[in-house]
Structures are given as C-alpha cells and as structure tokens.
C-alpha cells in the first residue's frame, strides 16, 4: 500500500511523534507506515483520514502492478 502520509504530515507542520500522539499510536508506527513497511488497520487509516480531513483513499492507494 502506497501513501502520501509524509507529505501531508509535513504540510501540516507535524512531527511523526505529534501525529502519532494525535491518532493514538507510537511514533515508530507512523514511521513504518511512511516507509511502506506497515499497512495500518482500517481503524487507524480512518483516524489518519479524519485527522487530515480527507478520505482514506486520498492518503492510501494500492500499489500499482504490471498486470
């Protein structure tokens, strides 16, 4: 799953720790999501979308395949 979380977070002037605190997870989890090493649960994805006042699919997109 690809995402533009780093761009949105930086545009909002937030650190990873501040965003993590806002959505109730650890900084390491935000870091892992931003580096595409962890796909968040639906609950967390909706929390992130609510925080940035957008839809989940605005932040997260399925990875493009060659098929």
């Amino acid at each position: 799953m690809e995402n533009d979380l780093p761009q949105r977070r930086e545009a909002a002037g937030l650190s990873q720790g501040e965003l993590a605190e806002a959505v109730g997870v650890t900084r390491q989890t935000i870091n892992a999501i931003e580096r595409d090493r962890y796909d968040p649960s639906l609950e967390l994805a909706f929390k992130l979308a609510a925080h940035f006042e957008c839809h989940v699919e605005d932040i997260f997109q399925p990875e493009e395949t060659d098929d």
Partner: protein, 142 residues
C-alpha cells in the same frame, strides 16, 4: 500507573522507552538472580527472585498499557508479535513434523536410543502446541 512512577506522560516516546526499560530491567534482574542463586548454592532464593521478577515484569507488561492513555503498545506491536509467534510455531511445526516421527521409528527399530533431553524437548514442543491449540480455540470463539 506511569504517572505514579514519575514518567512524563506528556511525552509518549519517553514513556514508552521507560516502560520497556523497566520491564526488561526487572526480567534481567530475575534471570541474574536465578543464575546467581545457582552459582552461590542458594537455589531457593534465586528461584524466589526469578519468580518474583518474572511475575512483576509480566504484570507491568500486561497492566501498564491498560492503565494509561499513553500508547505503550499499538496495533503494529501486536502484528509484530503475531508474526513472530507464527514464525516460531511454523519453525517448530516443520521441525517437529520432520524429526519426531523419525526419532520414534528409529527408536522402535532399536537403531537409536532417545536421550531424556530429547524426550523432554519433544514433550515441551507437544505441550506448546497443545496450549496453542486451546488458546486458538478460545480466541476463535470470543
């Protein structure tokens, strides 16, 4: 709870570090206590220190995330634990499935004599799978 032991809960990263350090330190003291008891011939005291440390560390690890709003563990930690547990069980399962029947057959044929350590390891692995099966059944019904 973390408030009461002087952790700054306004800084979740620091609170999380303190939480892990406290738990690991208590368990480390427990293990050192057990080993020290064996070395100096005070096995009973070492065992008491070990049990107290493990129970205290486990208690803090279990209760602290439930008694504070600070995210000490989150969904990613849970997924990591689940993946590591699955990998461990998978390795044990494949290893056990390929080794245990061979040991039984060779022992029955009189080709080998199973040492008690191996029998103990087989029983331990079997017990682990039994506990896992029961836990899986409980979790599935909840």
């Amino acid at each position: 709870m973390l408030d009461t032991i002087g952790v700054d809960t306004d800084r979740p990263g620091r609170a999380r570090r303190v939480y892990y350090r406290v738990v690991y330190a208590i368990v480390a003291v427990a293990i050192v206590g057990l080993l020290a008891g064996m070395v100096v011939g005070r096995e009973l005291i070492g065992t008491v220190i070990y049990c107290a440390g493990v129970w205290l560390g486990s208690g803090i690890a279990f209760l602290a995330p439930r008694l504070t709003d600070v995210p000490l563990q989150d969904e990613r930690d849970t997924e990591l634990y689940n993946r590591a547990s699955g990998l461990t069980l998978g390795i044990l399962f494949v290893g056990g499935l390929s080794i245990i029947p061979v040991i039984y057959v060779l022992e029955a044929a009189g080709s080998i004599e199973t040492p008690p350590e191996v029998t103990g390891a087989i029983l331990l692995a079997s017990g682990l799978f039994l506990v896992w099966g029961v836990a899986f059944g409980v979790v599935k019904r909840r």
